[in-house]
Subunit: 168 residues, 4 copies
């Protein structure tokens, strides 16, 4: 079995509560704890590309994520990412997919931080890792139990879920 | 999108601690709580077929589970089940697959009860629901982030994980 | 046994994460859930006076809390409150203690919300309810496993704990 | 401030779920994790005397616990213990109280293991540590938010709570 790569790029999934500041912050990726609980046997490598709120990401960040995908030898890559601009990053990578032949790239994240309990993070990561193994090469977004193509999804901010993109 | 069905059949996933007896018992399925946390948008129906330790299951129970699959109109069915005899039930259904045309059936479960926290249940259910949507008709077992064919998997009890079946 | 009263006044203890806004907010008091987990047998009444960040409280709020203490028939009162101005409210009530004869008033709270897991809320509330039963009439602050007199405590914001007040 | 001692003697509080055996077992004391969450500032020492189900304890075990109390230099001692025979151990120590002058000894425990989440352990330990600081020398049992004298308490097994002992 070939190795699967997880590229941690921050987002709500990886935030935690800072009791001194009374707000949510990034300190480290909590994916190793999540994956240990998951009791998985996948040949996984986990690398932190950045720990960033996706509202704060610009194309320089998206280029960094794309370069991390380029440099990664795995053909199955899961990218954990903030939900607010997840579709933008998906499209940024999809626009350069010709340079990423044979790679299945799946973006996922969470609406509630893993460290806060009662989170959707483990469910989403289980779904994303399965999708990365079963889907053909391409760029996908996996959230809410569903799989979307990179260019055909948008976030419904009022409901906090992803839905098919309305055509212009 | 067609509906997906979850058939709850018990197992560790659905056990909880009974403080009066000091042991793990079944009271009700906790899948509704798990699915609410998962923030999913799938057209799901959840039905409890039985809440049973899979070590206590016999072919009468397996026939009940198979009959529930037969009666279910969904083409994508996830069966939550105890891990100890999950492969036996998978084979029981696979032996009758000719009567279940067009159906993708995925068995999953957990090594630690959902209600006890730090559980693999949400990760496994996320993976199983994704596999049910992406795999062709057939009977599968999804655990530890991996997908196995019904006849090609066994539990490694010493490690608490599923592995490819050794050929006889 | 006489009844004990809990007056919920907000603070970190009662905040929860709002996935749509991505921040911590008040929706309802989570004390009933905390108390159910605690498996207590005390004759408790729980009343929400306000759900407010204590940095946002002014003397109008402190007067409301004091009036709620005056109106309460219990002689043992626990007040859950934000940590940032907990000493100020304690002193506000202590200044009016002559109007609250025979009452033992204990302020407590949490540095991490109960709803986020891994919280100090249950430990603090257990300590505060015990202190309210054992201490003589007066105004106290119970945090970090310790009991302080109202006028002799301050928050060490850098460490996130309460310490004896330095004399001027 | 004098040091407070916690003597860990097992019981439900310190059990955890073993996924390989599918049952609750002792591996190590989880009090350090509980106390870290509690954010306490007490001068505490924690020592594991034994990790045992209190239904399995006999007078040899009670003698070991009593000897640990004798050897302990703290005047405030909290003993974590299984609930089923907590009153028996409390009386065993109370019978030898003349040898433990100036010591306040408080037994506590939990009905649901700390490691399983939604536990009463933190609430009970917060209450017990406060009671140890405020009560005069003697042997007490702190559970369900209440304090009982060693000889005046019994467990109501049907309800899973402690109640005053019925006189003979």
């Amino acid at each position: 079995m070939d190795a699967i790569s997880i590229l941690a790029c921050g987002g709500t999934l990886d935030k935690d509560y800072d009791p001194l500041r009374g707000e949510l912050v990034f300190s480290q990726s909590h994916l190793p704890t999540l994956l240990a609980q998951a009791n998985h046997t996948l040949p996984l490598s986990v690398n932190a590309v950045m720990l960033k709120d996706s509202l704060m990401m610009d194309d320089t960040d998206r280029e960094s994520i794309y370069q991390a995908c380029l440099a990664d030898h795995s053909e199955q890559i899961v990218i954990t990412h903030g939900t607010d601009t997840m579709p933008e990053t998906a499209i940024y990578i999809a626009d350069r997919l010709a340079n990423l032949p044979h790679k299945t790239l799946v973006l996922t994240g969470a609406m509630r931080p893993f460290q806060l309990g009662q989170s959707d993070a483990s469910f989403n990561l289980g779904a994303a890792l399965m999708a990365a193994q079963l889907l053909p090469a391409g760029v996908y977004l996996v959230m809410n139990g569903q799989v979307f193509l990179a260019r055909q999804v948008q976030k419904d901010r009022a409901r906090g879920v992803f839905v098919p993109k309305r055509s212009a």
